[in-house]
Amino acid sequence: MQGNITLGFYVPGQSFIHRLDPRTKILACLAMTMAVLFCNHPAGFAALSLVTLLALGLARVTPQLLLGILRPFGIFLVLALLLQLLFTPGRPLMMLGPLQLTREGVHFGFQLLWRLVLLIISGSLLTLTTSPLMITAALEDLLKPFRRVGVPVFELAMMMSIALRFVPTLLEEAQQIIRAQQSRGAAFTRGRLVQRVQGLVTLLVPLFASAFRRADELATAMEIRCYRPGANRTRMHQLRFHCRDYAVLAGTGVLFLIVLVMRWWG
């Protein structure tokens, strides 16, 4: 099994983006997402694209890696483009059988495509350069104010980090169960759909049974070490903002504002 199976394909590194505080990255990603969604001006798109390109460079993302990120979304992107191209009413450019290509279709189609690409890239930049653990810690910190209104932020963060911790363990276990069941003649990859679904049941039932057993034991192990929900925990790793974080936050903030201004007054 791969060493670092994590959600969102975290790639460890030491680039500028890697070293940013995870809270900065989450906030910046959020600002970029909103900016991309609000943007409707070519100049805005140019600015956003430039910033995204800059971020890719700073994160040392190679073109191959970039392609790897976008490939899984390929079909989805093409489909979205085609639907916009062919089904937007407006001034016709050319006829394709019963369908017609319109000026507006081309405009909105490519705008949508570009939006999606920018969204995917900025989201991926976050997960590529930040370990799930850091994302959890950052969310815990950012959501802290919601504790006041009774949201169990620490407990939710704990649940998330435990879920992440058990991803590799359960994957390994699933592999083992698959092998055990295959050795007794279970069909996971052949036969008709019904048979495959039945095969899946023989995987899921033991997997769930063991997950519950694990959960029970883990709860004991946490209690042994004085874990009390609601009690005041501290953190060994304290998140700290540096100059670079303030710079990045200010930069993305300004960009976001510019996009907004262009939308409503441009």
Binding site: R214, M222, M236
Partner: protein, 287 residues
């Protein structure tokens, strides 16, 4: 330091409900500070149930358990008892909480609400005691079984406990992992004076203890030094336990008429004894 006293401890699962089952009956005993106590017994004899009473995971149906004078039945002292009595469970995969080794060790101190610098210090110290400094940034699921159990021990040590209870910590390990874990435990007991209570079904591990408790059917049937306990071959056999290899060999040789003294259970002792006998025989025969 850590004095544990158990008085008239009886535990009944599902007490007063259908499926009631007596797990422990009238256990009495004291564990002194710095002692290495092994608890052995066949499956279902109540070893784990007893172990879980020492840090208030389970509470007595009758009788009492006190740790340094703190009663486990008192809710106010429960968390202090859990801090003082660290515990390591059998399955290394199910007791690790975090996805980085040093975060795992930090989990306990963080729960105590200690300041970050203090947590850092304790983590570094516990990792070096457990010999895991080089692995500190790795994910735990990539460690070997022995390393995972040493990590669990480090996690317990970071709470600065005065006593460590281990519930069959080596049952799921290979021989190398078993040796690593036992060596770590011996060092902690001999050098740092930590009280250790080791639940085990490996006689080779029980041999290393200062004292052995033998449980059978929920009762404490023997309490003595390894030499005393392993002298009672028949009694042990009756409850389904075998002697450790060297003790068994000594017993068989004795049965064949070899003049081997009682109470030998360690390999080194047996070897010295046999070498002694053989040289004496040879020199006796030649002269």
């Amino acid at each position: 330091m850590c004095k544990i006293s158990i008085q008239g401890l009886t535990h009944i699962y599902n007490y007063g409900q259908p499926g009631e089952r007596v797990a422990l009956q009238e256990i009495n005993g004291e564990i002194s500070p710095g002692e290495l106590l092994a608890i052995i017994g066949p499956n279902g004899s109540g070893k784990s149930t007893l172990a879980r009473h020492i840090n208030a995971l389970l509470l007595p149906t009758c009788g009492s358990v006190t740790v340094d004078g703190l009663n486990t039945a008192d809710p106010a002292s429960r968390w202090e008892i859990r801090r003082r009595v660290g515990m390591v469970l059998q399955n290394p995969d199910n007791q690790l909480v975090a996805s980085v080794v040093e975060e795992e060790v930090a989990f306990g101190p963080e729960n105590l609400g200690l300041p970050p610098e203090e947590v850092r210090q304790r983590v570094d110290r516990a990792l070096s005691v457990a010999g895991l400094v080089e692995q500190r940034l790795r994910p735990p699921h990539l460690l070997s079984g022995g390393q995972k159990q040493r990590l669990a021990i480090a996690g317990a040590l970071a709470m600065k406990p005065s006593c460590l209870v281990l519930d069959e910590p080596t049952a799921m390990l290979d021989p190398a992992g078993r040796r690593e874990v036992m060596q770590t435990l011996l060092n902690l007991n001999r050098q740092d004076g930590l009280t250790i209570i080791l639940v085990t079904h490996f006689m080779e591990e029980a041999v290393l203890a200062d004292r052995i408790w033998v449980l059978s059917g929920g009762r404490l049937v023997m309490d003595g030094t390894p030499a005393q306990v392993f002298r009672c071959r028949e009694a042990l056999q009756k409850i389904g336990l075998a002697l450790p290899g060297p003790a068994e060999l000594a017993w068989r040789l004795r049965n064949c008429g070899w003049p081997i003294p009682d109470g030998i259970y360690r390999l080194e002792e047996l070897v010295t004894c046999l070498v002694d006998l053989l040289t004496r025989n040879r020199s006796g025969g030649s002269s």
